[in-house]
């Protein structure tokens, strides 16, 4: 069966709800409408209003009540409608969700998933195209993952729901209804908190997640035509980071470039670069370079493609890395 990312997530959510009656979905418009991106399409019809819960329009309320539900033994999956609207819930996420297990010395578990459609490129107005992942990855107690393709969407959402820790689950909204991929429901998925080499190469390692995986694959394809061999790693998990495949790759290539849509300043790339440098200092032929959104607010959509890292910006960084 060929599916889109939206469909993969929808099927994964459905599977998780079938498998475990404690799984609940909460959020704005997740019920009859099926969410503004239709990720929860049909679920309220099939699982009822008690399990697929339209919330009053208040993100702190959604996350705060989810905490209480988790304490009562439920596994809430909260949908934040757009990345830019997670901030009203920020306090509940970083001070409550992230800390309750630690504070209670393991007595209170927070098996919760916070789904956030993230990233730009859909021609939206402000607050609808942001990439808030670094702020969550900086918060101990949270786990943070990003899917990049339909098959991962299907498996990763189920794994995140099955996790006993709170997981911030980032979905590249630009990909929701884009490329299809073949889903084999009988396959055994890779562990949730693992990175994956998605294209092998020898000259430079590109490190991407979410929407930029596709960008990097395209860049690798273009570079190949010019005789350059780029390895592409889909980080998949941002906290914890799975540095194993990354270090293995960089030790071979000697060069790495991080690529994300979030602002470069204090973005994930900073951490990945710092760790690579700490751990393979002598293997590096050039500093780890970082390609990302500029250190400005997200611009009006007519120029968002200038703002977002694209194939050319990645290749430009490859040139710079090779020239070092």
């Amino acid at each position: 069966m060929k599916i889109t990312l939206a469909k993969g997530l929808n099927a994964g959510l459905r599977k998780a709800m079938e498998d475990d009656p404690k799984v609940l979905i909460m959020g704005e418009d997740v019920g009859k409408l099926g969410g503004v991106f239709r990720i929860t399409d049909g679920l309220q019809k099939d699982f009822g209003e008690d399990r697929v819960i339209d919330s009053p329009l208040a993100e702190s309320g959604i996350l705060g009540t989810a905490v209480g539900m988790a304490m009562r033994g439920y596994r809430p999956v909260c949908e934040i409608q757009f990345d830019g609207f997670v901030y009203p819930a920020y306090d509940q996420i970083v001070s409550q969700v992230a800390k309750l297990h630690f504070r209670s010395q393991g007595k209170v578990r927070m098996p919760m998933v916070i789904r956030i459609p993230f990233g730009g490129g859909i021609g939206a107005v402000e607050h609808h195209s942001e990439s808030p992942e670094a702020q969550f990855a900086h918060t101990p107690g949270l786990k943070v993952v990003a899917c990049s393709n339909p098959v991962d969407g299907y498996w990763m959402i189920q794994q995140a729901i099955a996790s006993d820790d709170p997981v911030v689950f980032l979905e590249p909204k630009r990909q929701y209804h884009a490329d299809k991929a073949e889903l084999d429901e009988s396959a055994t998925p890779a562990p949730l908190f693992s990175s994956r080499v998605v294209r092998s190469g020898t000259d430079v390692t590109l490190l991407a997640y979410g929407p930029t995986v596709k960008t990097c694959l395209a860049a690798a394809e273009a570079a190949a035509r010019e005789g350059r061999s780029l390895e592409v790693i889909d980080l998949r998990t941002l906290s914890p980071l799975d540095m194993g495949p990354v270090l293995e790759s960089v030790r071979r290539t000697g060069r790495a470039i991080t690529v994300h849509e979030a602002h470069v300043n204090l973005g994930m790339g900073a951490e990945v670069a710092a760790r690579i440098t700490e751990q393979c200092f002598y293997a590096l032929e050039s500093p780890v370079l970082r390609v990302g959104g500029f250190d400005t607010p997200y611009p009006p959509s007519r120029i968002e493609e200038d703002y977002l890292p694209d194939l050319d910006r990645v290749l430009d960084a490859v040139d710079r890395a090779m020239e070092f």
């Binding site: 418009d29 409408l33 009053p56 329009l57 009203p88 939206a124 609808h128 250190d295 400005t296």
Partner: protein, 386 residues
Amino acid sequence: MTTDVFSASQAAWNGEGPELVQLLTPEGERVDHPGISLDLGSPEEEAEVIRGFYRDMVLTRRIDTEATALQRHGELGIWAQLLGQEAAQIGSGRALRPQDFVFPTYREHGVAYCRGVDPLDLLGLFRGVDQGRWDPAEHNFGLYTIVIGAQTLHGVGYAMGIQRDGAVGTGDPERDAGVIAYFGDGASSQGDVNESFIFAASYNAPVVFFCQNNQWAISEPIERQSRIPLYQRALGFGFPGVRVDGNDVLATYAVTRAALQRARDGQGPTLVEAYTYRMGAHTTTDDPTRYRLSSDLEHWKLKDPIERVRVYLKRNGLADADFFGDVEAEAGRLGEHLRTGCKELPDPSPLSIFDHVYAEQTDELAVQKEGFAAYLESFDAEGATR
């Protein structure tokens, strides 16, 4: 076990409080309300004002239909329609004095129009060429706010500034000022909106909270947000709440005018709930057939805010065919202005990304800008992208 104390306190909101304030019925009949008077001067003056309201509403609707069409033609990325909410916006917008300040959501196109903002300027945000191109200080009309409810706190803060400027309760009609902060029924659930009630009450700030209860927050009906009429929310915070027929431009005008005067006079905040209906989709990307009945729509069509004024004017001989023809013509010109203007709205330059991040530009951003300029030039030099 008796639970009388609970029912006793519940009585406070059971059927109490004023009924829906209405001055013009859906059938176009002028009615009186014991709690508010329209007070527009002589019959001739009153008629003149009401004709003005009619014109304003027709033009506002035209802005909306043109923008919706422009979106369908791919000229706008999205558009937040106000169809059905013209009376709520014109009634409240026309109640403002120049020195009052407006904090809108993303749907207050009619209010913007009242504040003298060129409707063309409203399109920029939705076209994706800017994030609001008018000068808030010039029109006393803030930028559109998309994060639900955030602007209500800004409104209270601005009102506190007015207090500190000594521009409340002096009795000088040119000086005393108030704030009006718009929000939706859905927004009433946000912490920020409730905190804005608390701050406004605590400081007795000169602010009118104007809630357009259009019955829907995207797909969620008002019942999800509140189980009692929204105007009664104010009672819990210690200031008055009033429900007005939001499809009645006269009632909305009269109530908002009085609420603003309370604010300017130093009598503090008021919540006005304009009871109306979102006749269109939430935005042009929404599909309301997934979640609401077409019969509701039919029901509300009978309460159209413009039609009732047209009937009133006609039936009472207050406007002739010429008048209606002129308004139509003007709407046509406005439509043309929007259609041609929209396509000419300039795309921002890629390098503008780096401008205005700060009032005082930082060196690091200057370097990023230079780097990006050089990068862009490298393509020009190559003569093509890779």
